[in-house]
Structures are given as structure tokens and as C-alpha cells.
Subunit: 366 residues, 2 copies
Amino acid sequence: MDYETPLFFHVMEYADAADRDVIDMVSGNPDWEPPEALREGLREYADLEPDRFQYAPSAGLRELRVEIAARRGVDAEQVVVTNGAGEANYLAMARALERDQGDEILLTDPVYPYYPGKTTMLGGTQRFVATDDEGQLDPAAVRAAASDETAAIVVNTPNNPTGAVYRAETMRELVAVAEEYDAILISDEVYDHYDLSGTFASALETDSAHRIVTNAFSKSMAITGVRVGYAIFPPELVADARSRHMLVNVATTRPGQYAVLQALRETGPDYYERNRERLRERVATFTDALEAAGAEYTTPSGSFYVMARFEGYPGTLANVERLIDEAGVAGMPGEAFGDSRSEWLRFALVTPRVEEAAERLAAYFD
Amino acid sequence: MDYETPLFFHVMEYADAADRDVIDMVSGNPDWEPPEALREGLREYADLEPDRFQYAPSAGLRELRVEIAARRGVDAEQVVVTNGAGEANYLAMARALERDQGDEILLTDPVYPYYPGKTTMLGGTQRFVATDDEGQLDPAAVRAAASDETAAIVVNTPNNPTGAVYRAETMRELVAVAEEYDAILISDEVYDHYDLSGTFASALETDSAHRIVTNAFSKSMAITGVRVGYAIFPPELVADARSRHMLVNVATTRPGQYAVLQALRETGPDYYERNRERLRERVATFTDALEAAGAEYTTPSGSFYVMARFEGYPGTLANVERLIDEAGVAGMPGEAFGDSRSEWLRFALVTPRVEEAAERLAAYFD
């Protein structure tokens, strides 16, 4: 096998093992509270009858699929509840490749490293389309890269790692490119609740048999460990995706589905707004400190991440480990996200200590 | 795509939708209590700090892997905690095929239908080795079917659907055949706690770089819906299996892992023995009634299932649906498990109403 494993867990373990205090900004693990109804849902589940501890329907608890479908404006039959966005993206990419309409997957550069890993694992080939300096993707560049070999175009908005939020017109055009080349646009929208710009547009807004939308409650409810996500397929593509889901995982964890359903029903918009506000404050604090330190940095329109660049300190794994040991700040190497950001480091704003982290960085690079 | 989806969920849905009282004996969903410590583990989890709601290590919670490893006599590094035995078998079969030492998977006839489904999905080819009338597998027949094309031999002991428990010598010989042909024996031992014969032998008893053992807490703790299982790989094979697990699912659900760990630590042997005793009683009750009705049937040495054969009533899906509608008993069609049992029906003894079910069957076929 030659597919690469994303480095997140490696860097987290390195930071954990460090012999000093380290501010963890490696992975997109929220440090804020899950909704109270999520906790309450788990407590309630623990007291249910034994039959509720048995397999949920393979595609997901009916009520949860109905709830998701109503919120997303699709039919419940189009929804498959998955083991997080990770499985949702795996199912979507497998589905696109199984259509035998090409084996190339168009990815962006920079890219969330699970996408190339999944591509290679599934026997597809990769082709990268560069985004601009702000992380925006030009549909014309995607069209220029597309061909009869294109099976899928995989995008992520709001974006990890750039923080870009793609414009509505971009999303429409990406669906159009997928249609033109008989390919599938796969839009991973797991950060949709962390759009800080108010400009987020889902691929679902453009009706098409050529787009699959993936998502999860991992980020929106601060429960990356619970593993409940979903994919929304066009009616033409859902049956085979359900088969693969059944053959790989049988079904998604039921206590998690039960608790997420409770939380969906009982959590008001204030919960999500509070988390966005916290993130806005952290972005301001962290980037102000980077500015004061004279570093280059990105200001995210959405998602959890700020990328920073320090003169003469490229974004390699070795440098990330050195930063953990010598500065006590753990980020991710930019090179893990593709060649275009190899001079950069990515920091996840999932700690209350963002100001301290920026001060440590400023002192270290002074 | 041309891989078949196992019929379990279809039959369960048909039975649920029936316009009459139906005794559900379709799927291996225990109707007994999970361990109290499992429920308590979920309750405790619900009150943990937010960081405990985030990703577990991809291969599983360290303490859970250590606990499993200690019980199975392996190194914790060999253990990958999975989304049930379903994912464990998927990872094991994928790992065997990725060695590029053949693309044929040897399966038994009768077979648990997820195995051929996974084989086709993974691009492998199937070859079936018939078991004897008692469901025992002759290693010489496996050796005769093996070749340079053999990537894996997949067995299930205690067996679904036959109830056979393979002898220790069989397991040793199956490992030997895998070694001779540079293949992998995959031993799915998910019913190990339901060995009613005292003769169960794990493939782990034979040390080898050519065997993978899969298991789950789904049956032993009566929690098929929670989705926590594991695979034990030889040290040489574990790294790539961990990569695939990460790329497909990222990690296994954490509340489930936490609760299973509590239950493993705090549940005594009496819990498991009580469940075996209940099963023994149900086997006796059900087979006595079948005997009185003049039906042919199997008497399981392990697992949850009795197969029965009624003159002139082959084990087709149509006949299973007719039995639901006309007799109020839901089983599985024998043909779903392979040609050799196409005259049979499979009944899961996971209802307190086994006597009533047998009486309904006797009356219907009278």
C-alpha cells in the first residue's frame, strides 16, 4: 500500500509526550461545551430498554434522517447517517469512482489531507487545482483541469486549512463543471456552523444529480469523538452508497444518533452563535498578536484555523516538532496540506490560550 | 456496482411493517440486558469534560486496547478498535487483498452473507468450500481449494448460521493452510461468549503472521447498536490496517468505547454464563417443539441460531415473507447463506417467545 496517513494523530501524540507545557492547536477538536441536550440524550439513552441498544437501521435512525432532511430541504431517503464526516466523504468518493466515469479526483491545493489519502486508498488518481492566496477557488481553473477522466471534484467550505468560504456563484459553477464532465461535486460542509462571514452557500442550493454534500455534528456540536455525520446523495446515487455503508460499518453508533437527535431538536441558534462569537474573538486576539510579531497570517472567514508564516521557518514536520519542544505551541505543518502552503504553519483556535500561544510564537521568532 | 447487500435489514423492515403480530427471529439482536456497567459507563460519559467528547486515538482508547490485549494475550499495538465486527472484517479482508498475494477469498458454504458482499466490494473473487451437514469445516477441503490465488480464508466460529464450533485442530490446520499459501486466515469470533459446547478454540491460540482475529462486544454485551469491535493483527500487518481505519472512519465512537471499557472491567463471568444458560434453554424449547412438529432442524453448539427445514417449503425470500404474513414468525431465508442451505430457514433465538414461535410453525406446517 502506498496511501499516506494524515499526520494529525502523529502530531497530537508528539505534543502529548512533550516534556513541557504545550498549547495544543493541532487538530480541529473544539474545546467548548457540547449542547446540554446532547449530554441529556446520552443519559436518557443509558436507561432505555435493551432493544434500543441494538442496530439502528443501517442508513440511520428514521427520526434523525427526517430531521436532517427537513433542515437541508431534501428527502429523507437521500440521507445516509455515517460515522462522522470521515465516513461520509469516503462513501461519496467511493460512489463517484464506482460510476466508472473516470478515476481522477480533482482536489484543491491546499487540501485537507484526508482527501488525497482516501483517493489513493480507493484506487483513484489525484489532480490538484491551486486556490488563490485567500484560498478562493476559481471555477474556471477547475473547468480547465477537468476532463473525461474526472470522477469527482472534492471541495471543503468553509475551508480547512485556509478559512475561505466559497461564494454562492463558485458553488453553482462547481456543480455546473461536474455536470459538464459527468462527474460528481463532493462538497464537505462540516464547518457550516462556523461561517464567520455570513456568505456561506451550500452545494445543496443547486439542485443536481451531480453533487453530494457531506457534513457532521462533530464540529457544530463539539463532539468529534461521538462520530455522527451524514451524506446527502442525489436519489440516483443513494442506493449503492447505502450498500457500501452497510458492508463497511453495518450502521452508525446508536447512542450517538439518539443524543444528536435530541440535541438537534432542543438546541437553539444561540448555542451556535455563542461558539461563532468565541471564535471571532480568538481570531482577533491571535491575529493581533501575530501582527504585532510581524508574522504573515491568514484571517479566516470560516472554520477554526489561522495559517501563519515565520521568516526562515518552513512548515515541515521537523519544524512543527521543534516548535512543540522549544516554544510550547503545537500546530500542523503547512506541507501536510500541499505544496502551496509548505512555508506555513496551521493553528487551530480550539484553546482559550490563543493569546499566550501567539506571545510564545512572537517570543520564539523574535 | 454489482455487490449484493445482505438481506437482514430488508426482512426486518418487512416484519415490522406486517399487519399482524410477528415474532422477530430475523437478526442476531440479543433481547437480553446489556451489563449494568455498560449503562453506567454511558451515564458517566455524559458528564465528562468537553475534551472527552473529542476524537479518541484513531486505533482506539489506549486503556481499552490494553484491556483487550491482556484478555487475548496479545500486544496492545496489535489491536485496532473498530465500528463493530463489521468494520473489523472489512479491514481484515482489505488488508489480505492489499498484500497482492492473490485476489481470491475462500469462504464457507453456508456463509454469513456480509463476507461475500465485502469480498465483491473490495474487488476480490469468491470461492466456496462446503461444510459438512453439521457445519464443520474440513481443513483438507480448504487446502484442496487453496492456491496461489488465495488471499484469505474467512471463517466464523461459533458459526452463524450453522451453530458449529470449530475444533482446536481445525483452527490450527486452517492457520497452517494460510501459511502454506501465503494467505491470511481471518477468524471472526464474535460469538465466542456463546460457545454452548465448551469446545471453542480461538485462532489466536496458534501464533502466526498469517491470521487476523475479529470480534466485537455487540453480541457478548448485547449491544449491536453501540458499534464497538476490534481486530487483532499480526505486528507485520497492523500499520496498514490502522491507516485504512483512519481513512474510512477516523476513529470509533468514544462514548461506546468508554462504556465498553467500564463494562469489561466490572462485569463478572456470571453475566455471560446467565446469557448462555438462557440460550441453552431456548435451544431446547425451540428444538423440542420442532421435533414434535416433525421438522428437520440443527442443534447449535454455539451462536444464536437454529436452522429448520419444512417439507415442500424452500428457504426463499418469498417464503420467508409468506411466513411472516401467514404464520407470524420472521426468520431468514436459508438461500441467503448459500446454495447448500437453500431448503432451510434460519431462526435467531433472541426472543422470549421461542416456544410460541415453534408452535406457530408447527400449526402452519401441520
